[in-house]
Symmetry: C2
Subunit: 218 residues, 2 copies
């Protein structure tokens, strides 16, 4: 019998998004401790360093299989390894980027993403001046080649950085090419069928929040 | 008598963050309508296009001074102008970027931010190989020059893209240099005094959420 999405989520509880957003804070802190040769840490100390309530730290860490011992605390080296693995940063996920404009080209130039489990293997664009170039060693192809290349390169993730007018149609092309997740950098609201993950990272929405909060400053 | 932060927030209601994050979706949609020569639009049509409940669209738009008329709907051209202005995209905010590594250099290369009200006027780093260069026409200085240059250039925003070990200390330097808001791209939890806005955009946290959701796919 095939396991359905519901069954698999029943067996491993869905981790709340706020927890997933806080775990990288804890990881950053224990990485520094580890580099400094520190061997164990309590959840209280993590809580203090990160500015999160201790009970919340303990709850967040309960989703992760990291052993804590009363009085001794968590082993730092274990925690670095377990958190990195849990967050998916140790497993390389293959991605393609669609839209090699200003933001898209910038993302291709960020070699740091690979340390967090994201390997961008190709870029796609429709502009003939961009097609058949490469940026930071990553080849740029025409959109029409996406299905072939995504299949050949076993790409799981599509990064969307196209102009808003093409955002939905390019997302549809990605899905047709067998992509499992869309990392959406456009300010366009993408609609996708169930079974495709959409992660929005709209820098412009974040700018809007920041600008608005600045207006309330005395 | 000096107006305090509390008084100013009492006179203009604080816009909820989810609203501020959805408004750019509506703006994107009406921008396309405007480019296509469409003159008016109903909140129902926006809701349908963006995939948000119509009552939520109406509520979100109630924070923005945009005139809607029964049956006629909103005037598209007005809405583009009013939303752009409300979100702060029409006013240039001067920013400096700290940490010209892989991500930082990529952000300097993204010329698109200026269309959303963010003008990066300088970069700062401590690496002598990066200092006194320029990226995309933006000069890179040594961190020690930050206070002088931020004052001279009337910089309001500091973009933080340094390694986690220096994240808090560089944030402290920014604040000492008179910066009003920190756009934090590091996975480090920054602490800042009241009166300084901190906007987190951790791409790594977003990757973690996306990777985790992908694991639950059938």
């Amino acid at each position: 019998m095939k396991t359905t999405a519901n069954e698999s989520s029943a067996s491993s509880p869905r981790v709340p998004e706020p927890t997933l957003r806080r775990l990288p804070w804890y990881l950053s802190y224990v990485q520094l401790l580890h580099a400094d040769g520190c061997e164990s840490v309590s959840s209280t100390r993590i809580a203090q360093a990160v500015g999160v309530d201790p009970s919340l730290v303990a709850k967040d860490l309960s989703y992760v299989s990291v052993d804590g011992r009363t009085r001794v605390g968590y082993r730092v080296a274990d925690m670095v390894a377990v958190l990195n693995n849990f967050l998916g940063f140790t497993h390389l996920h293959r991605a393609c980027l669609f839209g090699v404009g200003s933001l898209g080209a910038a993302l291709l130039q960020d070699s740091g993403l690979i340390h967090f489990g994201l390997e961008i293997v190709a870029g796609f664009d429709v502009d003939t001046e961009r097609v058949n170039t490469n940026i930071n060693g990553i080849p740029v192809y025409h959109n029409s080649q996406a299905a072939d290349i995504c299949a050949r390169e076993q790409v799981e993730i599509g990064i969307l950085a196209v102009p808003i007018r093409s955002a939905q149609s390019v997302a549809d092309e990605m899905i047709a090419a067998g992509i499992k997740a869309i990392w959406n950098f456009t300010p366009w609201r993408i609609s996708a069928p169930e079974g495709v993950v959409v992660q929005n990272t709209s820098m412009y929405a974040h700018l809007a929040v920041m600008f608005n909060r600045m207006k309330s400053l005395p």
